[in-house]
Symmetry: C2
Subunit: 246 residues, 2 copies
DNA sequence: ATCGATCTCGCACACTGTTCGACTGCCGGT
DNA sequence: ACCGGCAGTCGAACAGTGTGCGAGATCGAT
């Protein structure tokens, strides 16, 4: 078991030290919760052990009693927010509506906690909440008669769409937030640069036209973008099911 | 170095040490190139201005003449690798095959440079290569009769799939790389933990079964996973085009 | 010979994650 | 009542980070 820890470096297989009888002032849960608060507020760069410690009224190094490493803390935080993703029961919704709700839940979670996106590619997510989510998505798609490889491929496709879309959306949102300006101001300031780009790329006008509408309703347009892709993708999955059973 | 010049003052030393030929010893392009090399080798955490400087035979702060900030350097590096993405001309391939090639190119670029994934959500990509890629994908989809919002939605859908899939794949690849073991060894070491998880989640066996095959052919399975999703997605886009024109 | 512009870089600052050993207060056992 | 040990906290210290600043080097042009 401990050699396993040497091979796969992940929090979930290491024993937690936090359980005891008295009343310690800190707890792993509390640390994770406030870490998530700070990550939501300031992004991954805004979380330091010292800041987190003093936010909790403790010395920075006290945290290391509950958490082996900052990386572990991040892994724990990621799994914690995976717990926010609700995956419906196919008996309630059918596979297609359920899959749509699942993908939307995942997207919304990622937009609530944009720092998660930067963590997803770093290591596999084997935490209990991520596992639960994976299983429930499998249950969902089994109801749609997916099986074998297609089952895991379809599940992966839904997550990929949520992750990819949220990544793109979050890139835009982050630049708006960092600029400190409103969306309108930012796109306006970007205008001259885009003019210059458009001069070199004649076909770019169409894409730009679509984007310029974003000045007024960015959230709506991004939601539409996600929904459009999701519908095409579910159509494709449905069509595949149809030809398979034929 | 300069004390050596003081001691042995010969013509033979001076020109060799004096890199001065009217050209500066550093250049933005060179900095970006070696930064990408280091990022590919050690990931985002492995790049520091000091290490990059000494790799280039320069002081760390010399880099700041060419690059305002480390963040800027990362932005430049990201756009540089966007230049590796080849987007076909629809006259050569038709929109569907072209879109498939585009998505595959994007995926392969992201797998070659996994650190890019962690950068994508941080800020929008407005560099020249990213712009060129965006325009060429628009040209591609216009050939398929996409227009207006659907045009940008479809383009975004292709990129989302590549980004999302590459994120998931890269998570797995990163853990293999960090463990230092082979894929077989790693999945084997993971087995007991997954057994424990499967006990709590009855439906998980199916997903696990699919993953266990990964022990032998992980690259192939991940490629299949991407290709399956891409085909479903293109089917969905094709179907949408059909109903639109009807 | 002198002046700017271009370029390089050592030093310093504030900050990071993490280790180590010292410290407290509480527990059960004697 | 004592005491050993343990759960928990923390200050100091180390090696490393990004970057501002200003001093210097080297150049072509005057």
């Amino acid at each position: 078991m401990s050699d396993m820890a040497d091979f796969i470096d992940t929090v979930w297989i290491r024993p937690s030290r936090g359980k005891r009888t008295g009343q310690p002032t800190l707890s792993r849960e509390q640390i994770i919760r406030t870490a998530i608060e700070m990550l939501d507020a300031d992004g991954a760069a805004g979380l330091s052990m010292r800041r987190l410690g003093s936010r909790l009224g403790s010395g920075a190094t006290s945290l290391y009693w509950y958490v082996a490493t900052k990386d572990d803390l991040l892994e724990l935080a990621v799994d914690e927010v995976f717990g926010e993703v609700y995956v419906p029961d196919p008996d309630d919704t059918g596979w297609r509506v359920g899959a749509s709700i699942f993908a939307n839940q995942m997207r919304q979670m990622l937009l609530r906690h944009p720092w998660v996106i930067g963590q997803l590619g770093v290591r596999p997510n084997l935490g209990p909440n991520a596992m639960r989510m994976g299983e429930r998505s499998v249950v969902l798609l089994e109801a749609g008669e997916f099986d074998g490889m297609a089952l895991s491929h379809a599940s992966s496709l839904l997550m990929s769409h949520a992750i990819g879309s949220a990544t793109i959306e979050s890139a835009f949102a982050a630049s708006v937030k960092r600029s400190g300006a409103t969306v309108a101001e930012m796109t306006e300031r970007l205008e001259p640069y885009l003019d210059q780009v458009a001069a070199d790329h004649p076909h770019y006008d169409k894409w730009r036209h679509a984007n310029s509408v974003m000045t007024q309703q960015p959230e709506q347009i991004m939601a539409d973008n996600f929904a459009f892709g999701l519908e095409r993708l579910l159509d494709g999955l449905g069509a595949w099911l149809a030809t398979k059973s034929a």
